[in-house]
Symmetry: C2
Subunit: 442 residues, 2 copies
Amino acid sequence: MSKTEPCFLTAAEAAAAIRAGTLTSETLIRSCLERIAARDPAVRAWLHVDPELAIRQARERDKRPPTGPLHGIPFGVKDIMDTADMPTTYNSPDWQGHRPTRDAACVSIVRHSGAIILGKTDTVEFAYNSRKAASRNPYNLAHTPGGSSSGSGAAVGDFQVQCAFGTQTAGSHIRPASFNGIYAIKPSWGTVSREGVHMISAILDTVGWYGRSVDDLILGAQAFRLPAIETLTAPAAAGLRIGYCETPFWAKAEAGAKAAMAASVERLRRAGAIIEEIVLPAHFADLSEAHTMIMFGDGGVALYDEYLRHRSTLHPELRLTVEGGRGVTPEKLVAAYDLADACRKEFDAIASGYDAVLAPASTGEAPKGLHTVGDWIFNGLWTLLHTPCVAIPAVLGEQRLPVGIQLVGPRLSDARLLSVARTLQTVIDTGAEERAAILRAA
Amino acid sequence: MSKTEPCFLTAAEAAAAIRAGTLTSETLIRSCLERIAARDPAVRAWLHVDPELAIRQARERDKRPPTGPLHGIPFGVKDIMDTADMPTTYNSPDWQGHRPTRDAACVSIVRHSGAIILGKTDTVEFAYNSRKAASRNPYNLAHTPGGSSSGSGAAVGDFQVQCAFGTQTAGSHIRPASFNGIYAIKPSWGTVSREGVHMISAILDTVGWYGRSVDDLILGAQAFRLPAIETLTAPAAAGLRIGYCETPFWAKAEAGAKAAMAASVERLRRAGAIIEEIVLPAHFADLSEAHTMIMFGDGGVALYDEYLRHRSTLHPELRLTVEGGRGVTPEKLVAAYDLADACRKEFDAIASGYDAVLAPASTGEAPKGLHTVGDWIFNGLWTLLHTPCVAIPAVLGEQRLPVGIQLVGPRLSDARLLSVARTLQTVIDTGAEERAAILRAA
């Protein structure tokens, strides 16, 4: 496959080329489908792809002038999201062939912005701690692409599709971005509808999307009208104040996360940014336990219907959660809510003093094996705190697998965070060509 | 219709009779269907009823021993909840005939507990401030039954069905209970899955159910495994400590709410309960504005997909919300979240000093006309505070329409609140026979 194959373009590049008339959506889609045909038997990112439907829709897009930011751009959809024209299985053995009759709101919204749904991506069952996706890390097939948004992360990372949806209840969206060398936004909680997305926790579940540049993420942010998205700016890197935040869980950082954070700091300093360390208040250390308490408590409620419907075939972890085996009590659950409620306001006040907060996106490189999707320790607190997070690739680790960092901001500051991230992309992510070269040769 | 018609039984009475073999589910369902045929052309509680399906399912139930608390009991389902065997229209002109392929989790769970879904009840469009239900108040057809759970409230009130689902984002569940002389529980936020229920706000939307006694509500609480529901007690009324809470919005109380609160206090005192006044901290007065800010902000996100799909036919109020006409800003939204977060913990501490908190359930009797569903001022704060609320009928007002009160408890104290409510039902609700007599003659 040549370097100039359209599948290797970023979404923003492809969208601009389609707008300029130098690329058709059909050519782009066909290039992605070829890449999928060549690579996906090994990567296994997709549970369902409908080439004919995608090509037909691309031709329709090509007949009309662009009406939305994602005009003609292919999108992958995590298979916990309803689609009216494709099966929605949640990667559950009990829901094979299930066909909803309407799109999830997020799917419908990107369609209205011109995106073409290429297919459904593999996921951890119900995006909850159970049956793993069959997807593999495109950089090394023996490693996980992370999860639960496994297929979406792998597909975007492997240049099979420009954009894809993920969701995050613990670390399911940002961590696969780190593992697959791609960009991700987990928007502020509450800014993207979850209608038609299988629920685990109302206070945690967040829909996000992947791309291969900050500009790709911005196309989605425009489609979803994130708060103040019309006020995007282009600040200079020099003089930006960046809060360096190891979080209370730094002891869990492996060589990969340490390298990604250290390299980012060095590059930021060289670009003239001002780095100041943030030490979060001591009680933030309890957010990890609070997060899991809420996830298990809410999970037990969310999965009770599955338990009643499919008890005999239900994954043991789901059964354990529903049967109360995770030690959740009303007292612990209320205490967890209260801690999170208090910390949200505190973190906003801290983060407001910086242009962005720099934090680890994963503990390190993707673990070996498909039995794990990695540790959510560096993600759960931000999910619970409802902050916007933008993942940016930073380094290749010792095993030649990508590791990213994330930029975090106060709640509803998504537009400002994307503005800063766009400037810092060129500072932090120095390895985009190297990543493309590795996967082009794969 | 004779006094002993099964449709006039409470759910708990009917369930016990079915269990004892003195009543069949089929007889019960047929009685409800007769009542519907006689009354619903005037009351208009239902958007869809499927008599044949219900009778067939009742016969199936009658062949088997009861396996769940709701065995053989008819249930109405608010038409913002997905049903696999009936249309789901959200009372929207744009979704007529829409047929989901799976049940909402709450529908599936009561089916597993033995309930029979009689049909879909009318609702304010998307349960959000827009196109009103056609339903009328069974006590006076010129008056609203309240909303947005209009049909569910009217159907249970009019003895057409024993139980029905409602939802509450502002006052949509408890207020219709007050207006229709029935019982309701709005469980603690987070204890009942909202999978398959049309969303407005993740932090507000709450699924609840109606019945004609506290024992009816308990059947549902058992089906949903509300926290600690296995620890129900039967406290004596004498010595119970009840916090009398007018809320900061008492100036909005009309004669009906004042009469309901005063009568409740008098009856409670006579029964030996200890009444102490609770004056909420001053900043609780801002919860009403915080609540509407969150409802409008979240509503704008939730309804954006509808706006893109059906802009030209969309109700003006929905369009206004999506187009930002409600004055929501990121700053105001965060401030609203933060106030609610702080007040939740404070209210729990206050409420923990009492066996229950007594508060108004509505501003008074149901308003005249179907252009309104009444004021949510006495409900929005409890929705936002995530407290369990149990509505109990208290008086008939000057217009001979019912008015209830609600008992409120700290988060996740649902079982304790139901225990107290069961004791207080016989103290507070002295008019059940009078209500039945009025509607039997209607």
